[in-house]
Symmetry: C2
Subunit: 387 residues, 2 copies
């Protein structure tokens, strides 16, 4: 059966060129980077080369990159540890209502432990209000955490403007770029970002590896205790093949970004045009071409259950999702769709389609062809009505 993968926001296939770059580090240059002998120094050199190259992509210094096991760990290290390390200054954190669960639930965890969290509203396209953000900052505020691009509806937040506000107010600015790194240009200097979370498997790199950018001079302690790795911020034997793979993947993504974005935006428009011909359907998030990830389309359909759509599409070999992969099994309506003001009943009829390097116009034709009868079928059996 034809296989069409339209869930690149959940994860991406490892690029073959990335696997090739990783291969020598599995069984030949396999040393522990902390070892003094040549196997160790070879591993350490590979890590430091990768660190320098990754830093360059976001205009950071090499020593500001801390390797972690992925986006969730990066978010936890940033939020928990900025929180606990700066409690002397204040206990107030500002974030939004549409963050990834790794940020959202870490903030809720801190709330239970005595921190005050301001949850910023977003408008109907998912954008935060810069005035509201600025007004929320008090003398007790230690951190603002706003994602760069939303994982469900693709909204690209004005991080440069947020960074400017945070800098002028003297509070740390953390941004989760798990969805945007490798798809949008990021410059931690120009954008005044103090902490930035990233995950390799979202840009055709390996699973189980990510990094946290931490601006030099930031007051932060490690989340875990152990050996003196990563300048004391993250203990544990370094995942050398993972780190090397992440570097390769990020550099490929940067090189191919412009071309990919043009292609994906074109395909996204094709999807939108095709889908909006279906009655009682709509797009969640900003219009394609506006400040939205080029590969993300979030569709809405009345009288349809998103999960049923996903399963019926899967039967046709098409992989799509209702929203964040991390919450697909929770059955709760998306907190992002709720935050943009979508009625509860309409939240359940969402379908996230996320394009990637391998996506072709043919794939989109197949998707549109299969989607229409599925929506029709589901509406026929819907207890909510429909045609």
């Amino acid at each position: 059966m034809k296989q069409v993968y339209l869930d690149h926001a959940a994860t991406t296939p490892l690029d073959k060129r990335v696997l090739d770059a990783m291969k020598p580090y599995f069984s030949e240059k396999f040393g522990n980077a902390s070892s003094l002998h040549s196997f160790g120094t070879d591993a350490m050199e590979a890590i430091e080369k990768a660190r320098e190259s990754i830093a360059k992509v976001i205009n950071a210094k090499s020593e500001e990159i801390v390797f972690t096991s992925g986006g969730t760990e990066s978010d936890n290290l940033a939020l928990q540890e900025i929180g606990y390390s700066n409690r002397g200054k204040g206990n107030h954190i500002i974030t939004t209502k549409i963050e990834h669960h790794a940020v959202e639930n870490t903030c809720k965890f801190l709330e239970k432990d005595g921190f005050e969290v301001t949850w910023l509203d977003v408008d109907k396209e998912g954008f935060v209000d810069l005035n509201e953000l600025e007004k929320s900052i008090t003398g007790k505020t230690i951190l603002v955490s706003v994602m760069h691009a939303n994982n469900e509806i693709g909204t690209i937040e004005p991080v440069a403007e947020i960074g400017k506000i945070c800098k002028s107010k003297g509070v740390y600015f953390h941004t989760d770029t798990v969805q945007s790194l490798g798809k949008e240009k990021i410059d931690v200097e120009a954008m005044n970002i103090d902490l930035l979370s990233a995950s390799a498997h979202k840009f055709y790199g390996p699973k189980g590896i990510g990094f946290l950018y931490v601006r030099k001079g930031t007051k932060i302690n490690p989340l875990m205790q152990g050996g003196i790795h990563e300048k004391g911020l993250r203990p544990g034997t370094e995942n050398v093949p993972g780190i090397v793979g992440m570097e390769k993947a990020l550099n490929l993504a940067e090189k191919e970004m412009e071309k990919e974005n043009i292609k994906e935006r074109k395909l996204a428009k094709k999807i939108v045009e095709g889908v909006l011909k279906i009655e009682n359907s709509w797009i969640n998030g900003p219009p394609v071409g506006k400040k939205r990830l080029s590969n993300n389309i979030n569709l809405g359909f009345d009288f349809v259950e998103g999960e049923s759509m996903v399963l019926m599409l899967s039967d046709k070999g098409i992989a799509a999702s209702t929203g964040s992969a991390c919450s697909t099994k929770s059955l709760k309506p998306s907190h992002v769709l709720r935050a943009i003001g979508l009625q509860l009943v309409k939240c359940h009829g969402s379908l996230r389609v996320s394009l990637g390097k391998g996506t072709s116009a043919k794939d989109i034709n197949y998707f549109l062809q299969e989607l229409k009868p599925i929506v029709k079928r589901l509406r026929e059996i819907s207890p909510l009505g429909g045609k």
Copy 2:
């Protein structure tokens, strides 16, 4: 130049058969295990199959295995979270003076946060005293953490006896098996283990993946916040190739354990016999053949700096270490060697040799041949004396 890798306690090369098992999960079956479509369910099935197989090896239930990024994370999750989740019952933790830094420093971290930690002494071979351990347990004790096998001197602690004591006293028992899993038989039921840390790269599996066994019913919260993965104990997109690779590696290690142990013990004896011919040299830890990891030999030489030995051996293509890879760069004398009562000056002259699957008798001959002139040379230039 000839390359002889004798640092398997630091890390091991990925077994080619393990890489073969991982390969399909990089770019073909690459789905996010939380996704509802077939790419997701394929990934989830692979994970659950691996979980069941790993559980079986240690006689655990499948749902008691929590995948982590490695040994350090497993130790932190176990110790920090047993600590914080059971503070209502008590604040006392018992551990030893020879734990890996991931356990040692987590206990020190908890000590600073109001926990009381008893640091058990060990005898001159590195063994804990069961009576002392039992006497240390009070009404406030919530956890005993004693490693299965020591990473520097190979001592295998009496975990079954410790487990029995902990069970009878109603306190949790955690053991770090990072050095022993795949080399020694472990049965969490027979040994009454409640929590067990493991890391794949120590048994020819990939770096960046490990697990924590958590006995059903144990009161513990997650270290990180995010999605609902791993029964809520460890959020983040699962590292599918890593998990599949860890399972394959563990099963191979179990199958080949007996044969490997016999071979390694023979080679270890050869090393000991060869080295003890050098004047003013000795063995740290239990004698080979006693309760000691079959692949570990920790040698001591008077009037020699361990680091210089490691570097000069490295120039001859031989990889060995002074002790734990995680602390090689700290310049502090080994806390393990100090704990077994070795004089400070003697701690600096240690050399850890750790054998593996690929180690041959020829390798050992080469090592012995190169070691002797190195020790002689270093003694000649030593300010401490020597011949």
